[in-house]
């Protein structure tokens, strides 16, 4: 169950990377200068950091710590 949830989360995140809905649009501009296709991916990058924090919490290979 946990594994399935992790796989689905990563798959959804992967799909969100392909933001075809922003493809031909420059506006709206974030902060008045960042085109939507750029700030979407900047936010995506920040969201990736949060995803990684969650994965480190859920999926950390704690068994490997015996080798430390």
């Amino acid at each position: 169950m946990k594994l399935a949830l992790v796989v689905i989360t990563i798959a959804v995140f992967y799909v969100l990377h392909q933001d075809w809905w922003n493809w031909s649009a420059a506006r709206p501009l974030a902060f008045g200068f960042l085109p939507v296709g750029l700030w979407y991916h900047a936010l995506y990058t920040i969201a990736a950091a949060f995803l990684m924090a969650a994965l480190v919490r859920w999926c950390w290979p704690s068994g490997l710590e015996r080798d430390e």
Partner: protein
């Protein structure tokens, strides 16, 4: 010329760091090649990130954005923000564990031990080495370009490349992995610190962020650069395969073995995307903005050439041109040093190649037993000199843009090798014959890539997509049909499960 003096001073500092690291070395091969598996959490994060980010990230990304627009960020940075930390979390930690438990130093050693093979490992070594050389050449080219532009042409490309090659060679030669890791940490801090300042200063010089963007939008020749219309969605999708190369790059895989504890991966996995954002967002934005900097003659010529031919032009120097025009001299010097910092990431690649040669070839074929550990380190150092010299002379004649050189060969080949790592570390059923089939396919397809025209696609996808999928299918399919390694070996690698 003053910014060039800052850069030269910076080169002197990193040289000193390398020599300082030399004084701390114990003289043992594991200390020279892996810093004694002793890197702490922050040094591990910053040095691993620094070794992954090269001239490709700084000069190549802004040059690509200059030609193709904001799509560059999504193509490489945000896809890497997802894929690279996942590779580190699920494969990097396992590499660390296997290396630590069995005293292994290189990926080929792990493959040989895991699949009970000898010469197949040698074949993998040659493939990895052949794919790494273009990446080292990128570093030398980036160094030559940086010093040449920053000095206003006073230091020619050949001399700039030579200076960078000699400095990198020297601190890798003396400092080994410890010197390389310390230098990479210093370099990453430097660039992360000054990247944001560069964007602010250059944008201010061009009239402010909003004015720059509005001018780009109002110009029919540049408005499409703020969308992704120059790329198809299929191509964009295909680029998400490129970051798989990260774990198969020998310098990244070997870096995974340097952590003192596996828990040090946690910080690296979480902060990796943020570091990517801090470096790539400024570079891509400035690369696009450079299309408005037509008061700089070199950029004006590029913009006119693009408009006249409708084709991309060499753009690896646009970031440096902006810096020279819009930043105060002392800031341009510091920022130039910061750019040089990222450009010089070829150090870890040179060291990785040297480590692989001495461990996978010299030691494996009896050199270490015959001549001893000191001879092994001396061989590694000699190899550093030879690789650097080869990369330098090749860089002098390379005509391909940094971004293209990286994507065309290194990324595609290494991404296709990622299934080998997954199979070795995560699948009990994998065999050496599956690895051999995959390796031969990657070698053949990379050579075919060399012969095919640039921009070649299959059903709209870049070659990296079919190469990676076929490589994975070969490892899987051939492994199913061929005999497994001994139960003892499989139990060593997967102790919690039965054979």
């Amino acid at each position: 010329m003053i910014p060039a003096l800052f850069v030269l001073a910076y080169l002197a500092i990193v040289l000193y760091i390398g020599i300082f690291a030399f004084r701390r070395s114990s003289g043992q091969s594991e200390d020279f090649f892996l810093a004694g598996r002793s890197l702490g959490p922050w040094v591990f994060l910053l040095s691993l990130f620094g070794s992954h980010m090269t001239a490709f990230a700084i000069l190549g990304s802004s040059g690509h954005a200059f030609n193709f627009g904001i799509v560059t960020y999504g193509l490489m940075a945000s896809s890497s923000a997802l894929v690279v930390p996942l590779c580190l979390l699920f494969l990097g930690t396992r590499l660390w564990s296997v290396g630590k438990r069995f005293g292994l130093i290189t990926p080929v050693q792990i493959f040989r031990d895991r699949w009970e093979c000898g010469h197949i490992g040698t074949l993998i070594f040659f493939l990895q080495a052949a794919l790494l050389v273009p990446y080292i050449i990128i570093g030398v080219m980036g160094g030559g370009t940086t010093l040449s532009v920053i000095s206003g042409g006073f230091i020619p490309f050949w001399l700039g490349g030579l200076i960078v090659a000699l400095v990198v060679m020297s601190y890798v030669f003396f400092g080994g992995m410890r010197g390389t890791a310390w230098v990479n940490t210093f370099q990453t801090v430097l660039f992360l610190s000054f990247g944001a300042i560069a964007v602010i200063l250059i944008s201010q010089g061009m009239g402010g962020f909003t004015a720059v963007t509005e001018r780009l939008l109002n110009n029919p020749n540049t408005a499409s650069l703020l969308t992704r219309d120059k790329f198809s969605l299929t191509t964009f999708l295909g680029y998400t395969f490129n970051p798989l190369s990260a774990i198969a790059f020998p310098h990244i895989a070997i870096f995974c073995l340097t952590a003192r504890k596996v828990t040090q991966f946690k910080r690296t996995v979480i902060f990796y995307p943020i570091c990517l954002l801090l470096i790539w967002l400024p570079c891509v934005y400035l690369g696009v903005a450079a299309n408005q900097a037509t008061d700089i003659p070199a950029i004006e010529a590029k913009v006119e050439a693009k408009a006249a031919t409708g084709r991309p032009v060499p753009g690896d120097d646009v970031m440096l041109q902006l810096l020279g025009r819009y930043a105060p001299v002392w800031v341009a010097g510091l920022l130039g040093a910061g750019i040089m910092a990222a450009v010089m990431a070829s150090d870890s690649q040179i060291l990785a190649l040297s480590t692989m040669f001495t461990e996978d070839i010299f030691a494996f074929y009896g050199g270490k037993d015959k001549f001893g550990e000191k001879a092994q380190i001396a061989t590694g150092r000699l190899f550093v000199v030879l690789v650097t010299a080869f990369a330098y002379f090749t860089a002098l004649n390379a005509k391909v843009a940094i971004f293209d050189l990286a994507v065309q060969y290194a990324f595609a080949g290494y991404a296709a090798m990622a299934p080998l790592f997954v199979a070795a570390l995560c699948w009990r059923g994998s065999t050496k014959w599956g690895a051999l089939a995959s390796t031969l396919f990657i070698a053949a397809s990379t050579f075919a890539l060399y012969l095919l025209p640039r921009g070649f696609t299959i059903a709209g996808f870049a070659p990296v997509v079919p190469m990676t999928l076929i490589s994975a299918a070969l490892v899987w399919g051939v492994s199913l049909l061929t005999p497994k390694p001994s139960a003892a070996t499989i139990n060593r690698y997967f102790p919690s499960s039965s054979v």
